[in-house]
């Protein structure tokens, strides 16, 4: 503020005063605005606050109503107690029924073939077994559409699943499943015999057991007595039918140069018969059990 300056020059002073007044006006406007903004913000905040307050009141009212209704229901339920106990006993009955059914469904695995409905079809499970031993399980996930197709499966790659499906899947699903069961059970049985021979009767084998993926060709050299003086025989077992667990072809040969004495020739022939008629590990169990003689009681 410079009053001395404005009074000195007249012409300039008017412009000076007006300019000064203008300056003061803008200053005032600005400070007004600065006042207004927080005021506006405050006004907005207070409207929001009232709104929140109203909503909270509404919420509390609704909560109280819910509590009231619940109390009413409980009261009526308490007064009607015999009905409630009836309900729970019904519920218990249903629960036990449900548990039983679940157990039955789980027990189906012992039949060898079980399944569970999926959203698109059914997931069939084949549980293999051999001579009373439960072995691996395999799954086939079928999609029920026209045509029926296999979504995915855990069947080993060397089982001819595609062939079996091509033959039976579209025509007769049951036939397909049974055929697949046959193949898988037979494979599991052959594999079991080969595994048992390798693990339990390794002492009888003079070299490694030669086998293939399907376990349908087994070739090994064995001695009648472990580490004994008997001659080593070479056995070659072929399973030309993939649904069997006993070999279709058996050859037992002698690897020596000399001719076999008659007793050993007889043994060779009888071994051939044994392999053809008895499962592999049982044959070797009989060798181990007797130590020299053939156990005829183990033959079927």
């Amino acid at each position: 503020m410079e009053p001395a300056n404005t009074l000195r020059q007249d012409g300039e002073s008017k412009g000076g005063i007006l300019a000064h007044l203008e300056k003061l006006e803008t200053q005032m406007n600005r400070s007004h605005k600065r006042f207004e903004e927080p005021q506006r913000a405050q006004a907005e905040a207070s409207t929001l606050r009232t709104r929140i307050h109203k909503l909270r009141l509404l919420r509390d009212k609704l909560r109280a109503e819910v509590k009231q209704r619940q109390a009413r229901i409980e009261a009526s339920a308490a007064s009607a107690e015999p009905d409630q106990t009836l309900e729970t006993s019904e519920q218990e009955v249903l629960e036990t029924k449900r548990e039983n059914l679940k157990a039955i469904l789980q027990a189906y695995r012992f039949t060898g073939l079980s399944g569970k409905l999926t959203s698109r079809g059914v997931c069939v499970c084949i549980h293999t077994a051999f001579e009373g031993n439960l072995l691996d399980s395999y799954f086939v996930d079928l999609v029920i559409q026209k045509p029926l197709w296999i979504h995915r499966h855990s069947v080993p790659v060397f089982i001819p699943l595609e062939e079996i499906a091509a033959k039976y899947l579209q025509i007769d699903v049951q036939h397909f499943l049974f055929s697949l069961c046959e193949h898988l059970n037979a494979y599991a049985g052959r594999k079991y015999q080969a595994d048992r021979l390798e693990s339990d009767f390794a002492a009888f084998l003079a070299g490694p057991l030669q086998r293939n993926s399907l376990c349908n060709l087994l070739s090994f050299t064995y001695k009648r007595e472990p580490g004994g003086q008997s001659f080593p025989f070479c056995a070659r077992l072929l399973y030309k039918d993939l649904t069997v667990t006993l070999p279709t072809d058996v050859t037992v040969t002698y690897q020596g140069m000399d001719a076999l004495p008659t007793s050993w020739e007889e043994q060779r022939v009888s071994h051939e018969n044994l392999f053809r008629t008895t499962s592999l590990h049982k044959v070797f169990t009989s060798f181990a059990g007797e130590g020299g003689k053939l156990d005829m009681s183990l033959l079927p």
């Binding site: 695995r109 079980s114 999926t118 030309k240």
Partner: protein, 314 residues
């Protein structure tokens, strides 16, 4: 030991990263425990390799031992090769496949050796009864080139063979023939599948992906909570499309499963379809002939990318 064999072994050792050297040596099982104990495995690669090569010379490593080492190297680093997939067919009404591995190996080797005098064939068994075959090719006049070998992975009693073909293309017909005759098949066809990831190819070809199956006996309950509507999110946020999202998630899970997907890098589809349009009078709308086009999807890991589209809301 032949100088070429020594050089070959040295080059293989130099390729092996330090972390894998011990595993590969153990799998090779050529150098004895006592020999390996004398080696200092903490030194730098070049002196280590020289020591190992000297030990191999002491033990008179043959070309076959070196070839075996090469197979093991490739088995461990199988993603370094590009694998093609072939399918073999038997004639109709053929007998059951009584696969005899010894017969196969001798038959295969004999066929190749009869045709080309100079060829190195090596076999190694692997997991799931697979047979790995390594063939180094020569001609009647030249020795086999050990650095450009072909590798074949055959799963006996299945129709599938995986091959990593070297650039020597002229030997492919002979290889095909040897495989067919030795394995008693009539025909071999290349199928439209190729990848560096042998395990993914196996999973696709043998349909071994996603091995989780629903049964009544499963003790682990199916995870009800979804993977991406996760519990860390604010509970005050309600999803509008919850039902739709859950449906998408269920379908995705049914199609893809929970396990990691086999690794595909690109998929190409030939499409032949009629154009459907809501707008009348579009250029393509009234065509009688179907539209033919080829669509190609590519990604570093195609199936996982598709699987993750679902939570992204597509």
């Amino acid at each position: 030991m032949d100088e070429t064999v020594a050089e070959f072994i040295k080059r293989i050792f130099l390729k092996i990263p330090m972390t894998n050297i011990m595993t590969i040596l153990k799998a090779w099982d050529f150098l004895s425990e006592s020999q390996l104990q004398t080696v200092n495995f903490r030194q730098r690669k070049e002196p280590l390799v020289q020591e190992l090569v000297l030990l191999c010379e002491e033990k008179c490593a043959s070309l076959n031992d070196a070839a075996l080492l090469d197979i093991i190297y490739i088995q461990v680093h199988r993603h370094q090769k590009l694998w093609d997939v072939f399918k073999m067919n038997k004639g109709p009404g053929e007998d059951v496949d009584l696969f005899d591995i010894e017969q196969f190996k001798s038959s295969f080797t004999k066929i190749l050796q009869r045709a080309l005098k100079n060829v190195t064939v090596s076999f190694r068994d692997a997991e799931e009864n697979a047979v790995w075959i390594r063939i180094a090719w020569g001609t009647h006049h030249t020795k086999p080139n050990q650095y450009k070998a072909t590798y074949v992975v055959y799963y006996p009693q299945t129709p599938y063979v995986f091959m990593s073909l070297s650039r020597l293309k002229r030997n492919i017909p002979l290889l095909d023939q040897a495989l067919m005759i030795a394995s008693k098949h009539h025909q071999i066809v290349k199928i439209d599948l190729r990848s560096r990831y042998l395990d993914s190819l196996k999973a696709i070809v043998f349909k071994q992906y996603n091995q989780f199956f629903e049964t009544h006996n499963s003790t682990a309950p199916l995870q009800e909570t979804s993977l991406w509507l996760d519990t860390n999110m604010d509970l005050r946020v309600i999803h509008e499309n919850k039902i739709e999202k859950e449906r998408v998630q269920r379908v995705t899970r049914e199609t893809f499963g929970d396990c990691p997907q086999p690794r595909l890098e690109f998929a190409q589809y030939k499409l032949e379809t009629k154009f459907k349009s809501n707008l009348n009078g579009g250029i393509l709308a009234d065509r009688e002939e179907p539209l033919r086009c080829m669509i190609k999807f590519s990604s570093p890991h195609l199936l996982e990318a598709l699987k993750s589209l679902a939570p992204a809301g597509k």
